[in-house]
């Protein structure tokens, strides 16, 4: 520990920035290997059909084309489930290339490899698929109906791993004794991560060593390494994954996709490096989609606003296959986040993933958290209207107070399905913090004045909880280099969020050395044998605790080494401010930590109770133009009980960025499909990612607590997703509020200008 000012808690500017602003970052597309070939994936343009042949003759005749492969060339493998491989999901896994049946537009069917990327693209155009089209099924309601076309005959149905959870009093009895019961069908549209950098993979095989190297990994490189080793029939040690600079992840990038098998397989098969660069159209139909789901919701309450029971029953639209997120993770996350920070007397939740002829789905930042929160917070506003109660008062009445903790929710834990409790957090204080920052009373009064004048101005609030930072472990190794610097290896990943800076702050504080002396290394599985990765707001939490532990171990090793060197007792040696000092017989000697070249230490952070729940709240004000249907957000507040902000600047950056995505999910973005199953959002002209002109400033309130100064990580919680979880809910509620009574009809996302226009007309009439 340093006696000087600490790095942790300070808005340290990012060490990553210099390479990004000078154009010297190294992203996947910047990697080139001598003699490399270029791959182009040829994808199904039919949503559902029997694949009877692939004709590559014309493509193969084109000069420069080296090889065309289809499923017949490959071993019979499937991409495995990474999280919760339930039985039924195993029946509907995706092969790297479509085999016998195509199940969505964008499904890989063949790969062309050529000497030049333009030639590969030309050749891909000439490959002909023989496909007998079948009737596609696109919506969950159609897919679960009797007689619906079945996507995977092996499973024999389109519902995968249906589950039920219930707790507390019987919801039907609660409803029959209630003063008010709200029943709604609420839907969230298909949208997703869409990072700015499309995927890139470069594979190279060292035949002598038997080692396959793959550049372009992200998020979960250690899982992907084991997965690729399994699919290729190689030892894990013979597979090396290298993370380059990553142009955004948001949950989707870095999962194991068909290409993650195809490109290394081709490099081995052809004996030459192979490079694949995804284009934007591919990215919009091949990267995991997310969020599409439909729920029937019933909430009961007393006339004084006391919440009684809820029942949710719904389907998650999984698309054509289950991929690495399996069949139960996403529905479970929705169900677990429906409960939120409120007291309920009982609940029942039924859910399942449903297969449709769309791009397979997976996680997107705040998975299930965003949707579960929206379903509940929207329903609460409809309930408040029914009770003629201020939506804020309704929430205040039902928020769990700190003296009720631990509060047994009865929700089944995602991992082992055991009922769990909320154990920490001040839900009312976090809610009030958002109201205070947003000046609730006065914006509410102002909105009312505008509405009396015939304008459409509304206020929306939301309170939420977020379950994140899952374990089970992360590990770190730290070494003192010859030049006196410190290299810190750690198994997390960077998806652009600034972990190199944040983790260096933690190490600098524990060691008491300048931050410039620290290099964070997290890129290469050849150097870092184990790790979990960057997801679910865990990189700072697990990475930070791992590097803090390794730094403490290094100090202990330094004390021991110096004690031995000087022949004094270990407890006579102290470390502070980057120096090791020994006292013996009144003499005092000092050595700089950085002089102990070659000294190393390791630490594995594996807390017994991994994961935690963070609480937050939002306030939004929306102004609608009834003529054009345009909604403008004039205020957006996020309050978040972070506990301790390691780097307030990067944390606020995470929250502001998450909030923008939350707004985008309510007002703009959708992966639309035509009735016959063709994806319509295949360019940035059609997938409406908002620009600076649409996103408002986000006002962020961070709730921190006094912490033990000796541990820089004490009290810190994850912050990667807090910005997105409740933002969409507050925005939807603000738009609905602006529409008055007609706003109760807002039960599905996105809320488009057309929808706003139509509802504003209702208000007029």
């Amino acid at each position: 520990m340093s006696t000087a000012e600490t790095y942790v808690g300070r808005s340290e500017l990012r060490t990553e920035d210099l390479r990004f602003i000078s154009g010297t970052g190294e992203y996947g597309a910047d990697v080139n290997r001598d003699g490399q070939l270029y791959a182009r994936v040829v994808r199904s343009d039919v949503p559902f059909g029997r694949l009877t042949g692939v004709d590559a003759d014309a493509a193969l005749a084109r000069p420069g084309v080296v090889r065309v492969i289809s499923s017949a060339d490959l071993p019979d493998v499937r991409i495995p489930v990474r999280l919760f491989p339930e039985a039924e999901a195993q029946e509907v896994l995706q092969p790297p290339l479509a085999s016998g049946t195509v199940r969505y537009v964008g499904e890989p069917v063949a790969v062309v490899v050529a000497e030049d990327p333009y030639v590969a693209e030309d050749a891909a155009e000439e490959i002909l698929f023989e496909i007998e089209p079948l009737d596609p099924v696109l919506d969950t309601a159609d897919a679960v109906a009797d007689g619906a076309p079945v996507l995977h005959p092996d499973l024999g149905k389109n519902i995968v791993d249906q589950e039920e959870a219930r707790f507390g009093e019987d919801v039907d009895q609660l409803a029959s004794g209630a003063d008010v019961v709200i029943r709604k069908r609420i839907s969230v549209q298909r949208h997703g991560a869409v990072p700015m950098e499309p995927r890139v993979l470069v594979a190279e095989y060292d035949e002598d060593a038997g080692v396959i190297s793959l550049w372009g990994a992200a998020k979960v490189k250690h899982f992907n390494r084991r997965c690729l080793a399994g699919l290729l029939g190689k030892e894990v040690e013979d597979v090396r994954l290298i993370e380059c600079d990553v142009g955004g992840g948001f949950g989707a990038r870095g999962e194991f996709y068909p290409e993650d098998f195809l490109i290394p397989w081709l490099a081995i098969e052809l004996g030459r490096p192979v490079k694949w660069v995804e284009d934007r159209r591919e990215n919009l139909i091949a990267l995991n989609h997310s969020r599409e789901q439909d729920w029937d919701i019933e909430v009961s309450a007393s006339s004084d606003g006391t919440l009684l029971g809820y029942s949710v029953s719904g389907w998650f639209n999984q698309g054509g296959y289950c991929r690495t997120h399996g069949s139960v993770l996403l529905p479970r996350l929705v169900v677990n986040h429906f409960h939120g920070p409120y007291r309920w007397q009982g609940f029942v939740a039924q859910s399942g993933s449903v297969l449709t002829n769309k791009t397979p789905a997976g996680t997107y930042r705040g998975p299930g958290q965003y949707e579960g929160t929206f379903l509940r917070e929207r329903t609460l506003d409809i309930l408040a209207a029914e009770l003629d109660m201020d939506p804020v008062e309704l929430r205040r009445k039902n928020l769990i107070s700190p003296d009720e903790l631990p509060y047994l929710t009865g929700l089944p834990a995602i991992e082992d399905r055991s009922p769990f409790s909320y154990v920490e957090g001040d839900y009312p204080a976090t809610f009030e913090a958002a109201l205070e920052r947003g000046d609730y009373e006065s914006v509410r009064a102002e909105a009312a004045r505008h509405r009396e004048a015939g304008e459409h101005v509304g206020v929306g609030v939301a309170a939420f909880i977020e379950m994140g930072s899952p374990g089970p472990f992360e590990q770190s190794r730290i070494a003192i280099e010859r030049d006196g610097s410190f290299t810190v290896h750690v198994g997390i990943a960077s998806v652009g969020q600034g972990v190199q800076t944040v983790l260096a702050q933690v190490v600098a504080d524990v060691l008491g050395v300048p931050i410039e002396k620290i290099t964070i290394s997290h890129h290469d599985t050849a150097v870092i044998p184990e790790g979990l990765g960057a997801f679910s707001s865990r990189a700072t939490m697990f990475g930070g605790n791992a590097v803090a532990g390794a730094s403490r171990e290094l100090l202990a090793a330094a004390r021991e080494a110096v004690a031995e060197r000087l022949g004094v007792a270990a407890d006579a040696v102290e470390t502070s401010d980057g120096r090791v000092s020994a006292k013996s017989d009144g003499d005092s000697q000092e050595i700089a930590l950085s002089d102990l070249h070659g000294l190393e230490a390791e630490y594995r952070y594996a807390p017994e109770a991994g994961g935690h729940i963070v609480v937050g709240a939002n306030l939004a004000v929306a102004e609608l133009d009834a003529r054009t249907g345009e909604a403008k957000l004039t205020k957006m507040v996020v309050s978040y009980e972070i506990g301790k902000a390691i780097n307030p600047m990067t944390l606020e950056g995470q929250i502001a960025g998450g909030a923008a995505q939350g707004i985008a999910g309510v007002m703009f973005e959708e992966f639309s499909y035509s009735e016959d199953g063709q994806p319509l959002s295949t360019s940035f002209m059609d997938y409406a990612m908002p620009t600076a002109a649409e996103i408002p400033d986000v006002d962020i309130v961070l709730l921190e607590f006094d912490q033990d100064d000796d541990d820089p990580m004490a009290g810190a919680r994850g912050g990667g997703e807090g910005g997105i979880v409740g933002t969409g809910s507050a925005v939807a509620n603000a738009i609905a509020d602006a529409l008055g009574a007609a706003g109760r009809e807002i039960t599905e996302l996105p809320i488009t200008p057309e929808r706003i226009q139509a509802l504003a007309m209702e208000v007029k009439q």
């Binding site: 602003i21 010297t24 700015m196 600079d245 142009g247 652009g496």
Partner: protein, 158 residues
């Protein structure tokens, strides 16, 4: 063509994109391709001082012209000194993953040169030709304001 003051010559197919020439032939990989249809702005470079989308131009269209890419922003400044836009993006945390950043930096020249007062809304409108997925844009708006201050205070831009 001249890129960042250096001549780059080559024989190319007529269909080669300017962006691919810059990245693959000139080896300047700071120019990024985010959509290849002119919406995201990540590939923006300066052609004779004006921002253009290098994914919407062919290399042959830039024959004999003068280009500047992100690598050239601080080239004529004293060693170690950043261009005011780079400085401001760094100080205001206007980037996270950094993939869109070169495109923003190369789009903002005209805004930096103009000395008229601009409201936040006007700055946001001016930024609306570039997409960023990480920041939510508010720190980019701050960075533009900061860079304009730096330039007004005499910071050199070339």
């Amino acid at each position: 063509m001249t890129i960042n003051g250096e001549t780059h010559q080559g024989e190319v197919e007529p269909r080669l994109l300017l962006a691919d020439f810059i990245r693959d032939r000139a080896g300047l990989t700071g120019t990024h391709l985010g959509c290849e249809h002119g919406v995201c702005g990540a590939c923006t470079v300066e052609l004779n001082g004006e921002p253009v989308r290098s994914c919407l131009m062919l290399a042959i269209q830039a024959d004999g012209e003068e280009l500047r890419t992100v690598e050239g922003l601080a080239k004529n400044l004293p060693e170690g000194q950043l261009h005011p836009l780079q400085q401001a993006f760094h100080e205001e945390h206007a980037l996270q993953c950094g993939f869109c950043t070169p495109g923003f930096l190369m789009s903002l020249g005209p805004l930096l040169e103009s000395d008229e007062d601009l409201s936040d809304d006007e700055i946001r409108e001016a930024l609306a030709g570039n997409l960023c997925r990480c920041t939510g844009y508010q720190n980019i708006v701050k960075a533009v304001k900061r860079a304009r201050e730096l330039v007004a205070d005499g910071a050199p831009t070339a």
